[in-house]
């Protein structure tokens, strides 16, 4: 038993890497840096107890240096910062993100203070909820894949995984801000405008999502070409 476990724990590289840098043995568990990870034993269900025990025994991957144990750490925001990053310049990307959140908050709080008391509750001032909601509004539900059949390639409507949908939403936001806006505005300004528009289901990114949905609806007939 010990010998087989040791065999698994040896430095092991898969012959085919499905993802860049995933050189860890799949036996390794993901790290969970948040302080809420420790819950007293009595509140756990039997499956969770098993998971806890597994964590004490099996090895865990090293945590990324961008993850913190404080509750201010948000995995979605970290992912977005990584996507915005260019040439590994994380400092600049994180600075742009914080400036974006600040700009969103400033615009909303200004509106809040200038509006009468009746309308104040409708205005959402928290930039994190604005960001999450805007991203949700930009995620496509169904995507298109190119399938070759009989010499011709057709655009086939296809379900998307959660990761893929999140990736597409973020990618569209960033490319929209990089390409289609006025040259002289700062990135954080462009991003904040786009996010506030997406929060209310307006703007170019949401329009692109709707276009994708319409194309998928139009190509309904080819849905049977999908074999997966």
């Amino acid at each position: 038993m010990a010998a087989s476990v040791r065999h698994l724990l040896k430095p092991w590289t898969p012959s085919l890497c499905l993802m860049r840098w995933s050189r860890y043995n799949p036996y390794y568990l993901d790290p969970d840096p948040s302080k809420d990870a420790r819950v007293p034993e009595s509140e756990l269900s039997p499956e969770e107890k098993e998971l806890q025990e597994l964590k004490t025994v099996s090895p865990i991957k090293a945590a990324l240096s961008s993850d913190t144990s404080s509750a201010f750490n948000d995995p979605l925001i970290s992912k977005f910062i990584n996507m915005m990053m260019h040439d590994g310049n994380k400092i600049l990307a994180r600075g742009i993100m914080t400036q974006t959140l600040e700009t969103i908050k400033r615009k909303q709080v200004e509106k809040y203070h200038k509006s009468p008391a009746a309308k104040r509750e409708e205005i959402e001032c928290n930039p994190y909820t604005v960001f999450h909601q805007a991203l949700e509004n930009c995620k496509p539900i169904i995507g298109l894949a190119s399938v070759q059949k009989g010499g011709k390639s057709y655009q086939v409507p296809v379900p998307l995984t959660d990761n893929r949908r999140r990736f597409l939403a973020m990618k569209w936001l960033i490319t929209e801000c990089r390409d289609n806006k006025h040259r002289r505005t700062h990135m954080y300004e462009k991003l904040s405008q786009e996010l506030l528009a997406a929060f209310t289901n307006e703007g170019n990114v949401v329009k692109r999502k709707h276009d994708l949905h319409k194309m998928a609806e139009a190509n309904r007939a080819y849905a049977h070409y999908r074999w997966w």
Binding site: T98, K105, E110, H113, C125, N126, Y128
Partner: protein, 358 residues
């Protein structure tokens, strides 16, 4: 306890005392427009725009400065007060607080918001029309004159020039003309605006302590932020890429700093952030002013400005909560507050930048 006074705001600065330390008071919007069209730090101006009001915290350095101003003897030469401290501790804001007190008492304000702007990044550097070896900065001078006009409008018609000034062969200002005309001359004719600045400062120095009673009496408050720029090196260059020997604006300001006049006070604050060729860790007067500056400024009253203590931090935190600025749910909890204290070390500017995106 932590919070705003609700009664009449206009004369509030006179009633501030130690008991009010840590509480916020509102700057009336008319005063902000007149007194500080450009004088407040840019982040604070953004905050005023966002919260739709300008609130300043009453802190010990500003209270100290105001108490000195109340008790000083104005028939003697002016006292020089120097606000010093580490970066982001609130020197400029304390200076603005004291300046607001002077304004509400009816003093004449000469405010240079940042002397560093006159010593670097100037687009036009013209040789002076009056003296051959000096250099002029017309844009900065005319900008300053416009702002001076907005702040001190009511004094402009009352004060008169005491001598004749000749600008060019055809233009001159006669003796006895109101000061407003002198300033208009400087704003309209950019070439001689730096010399006009010098003339204005000279007039104010001569007339500040002059008339003891009646309409002519006024007290002069000279407020300069970033005083260390006056005696440091410039990063400006002439067209043949050598250093200019003398700059008109800087020369005139240095004359203002000498206490050979009476009837006012000189309030200054050091600043490392805008300074040229100074290391980031320097914050003491001797380091930032240099030998020449220290000798010129001596004797002065140093006022040290430091980070928030617990009471002030509490007050700032509650103010942000009240203004709906701290949005992240974790920042509103006890643990989040401890994290904020840890991350910012109770430094006012760092705390402000942290709370901006949380």
């Amino acid at each position: 306890m932590h919070f705003l006074f609700n009664f009449d705001n206009t004369h509030l600065s006179t009633y501030h005392s130690e008991g009010h330390s840590g509480q916020y008071y509102t700057l009336p919007p008319t005063h902000i427009q007149k007194l500080f069209p450009y004088g407040l730090p840019p982040r604070f101006q953004l905050q005023i725009k966002t919260f739709n009001e300008g609130c300043v915290m009453v802190r010990p350095p500003a209270l100290e400065l105001i108490s000195y101003l109340k008790r000083a003897d104005y028939s003697k030469p002016p006292l020089r007060y120097v606000l010093y401290g580490d970066i982001g501790t609130g020197k400029t804001m304390s200076l603005c607080h004291a300046l607001h007190y002077c304004y509400s008492q009816g003093w004449l304000i000469v405010h240079v918001p940042d002397a560093h702007l006159w010593v670097k990044n100037c687009k036009e550097l013209l040789p002076s029309s009056s003296r051959p070896s000096r250099f002029d900065q017309p844009i900065q001078a005319s900008q300053w004159l416009k702002n001076f006009k907005i702040t001190n409008e009511r004094f402009l018609s009352k004060l008169k020039t005491t001598q004749r000034y000749v600008w060019t062969k055809r233009e001159s200002t006669e003796k006895g003309q109101p000061l407003g005309e002198l300033i208009d001359q400087g704003v309209n004719r950019m070439k001689s605006s730096s010399d006009v600045v010098g003339a204005v400062l000279r007039e104010l120095r001569l007339q500040a302590g002059g008339a003891t009673e009646g309409e002519g009496a006024f007290k002069l408050a000279v407020a300069v932020d970033g005083v260390n720029a006056l005696w440091g090196k410039t990063s400006l260059k002439k067209e043949d890429r050598t250093m200019p020997e003398e700059l008109t604006l800087i020369h005139n300001l240095r004359k203002m700093m000498k206490n050979n006049w009476s009837g006012g006070a000189i309030l200054t604050a050091l600043s490392q952030t805008g300074s040229v060729f100074k290391p980031r860790s320097a914050y003491l007067p001797s380091e930032l002013l240099g030998e020449e500056g220290f000798d010129n400024m001596e004797p002065f009253v140093p006022v040290s400005v430091s980070n928030y203590n617990e009471k002030e931090f509490e007050s700032c935190y509650l103010y942000y909560l009240d203004r709906n600025w701290l949005q992240h749910p974790h920042s509103r909890s006890e643990e989040g507050k401890k994290e904020l204290i840890f991350l910012s070390n109770k430094n006012p500017s760092i705390l402000e930048r942290l709370c901006a995106f949380l």
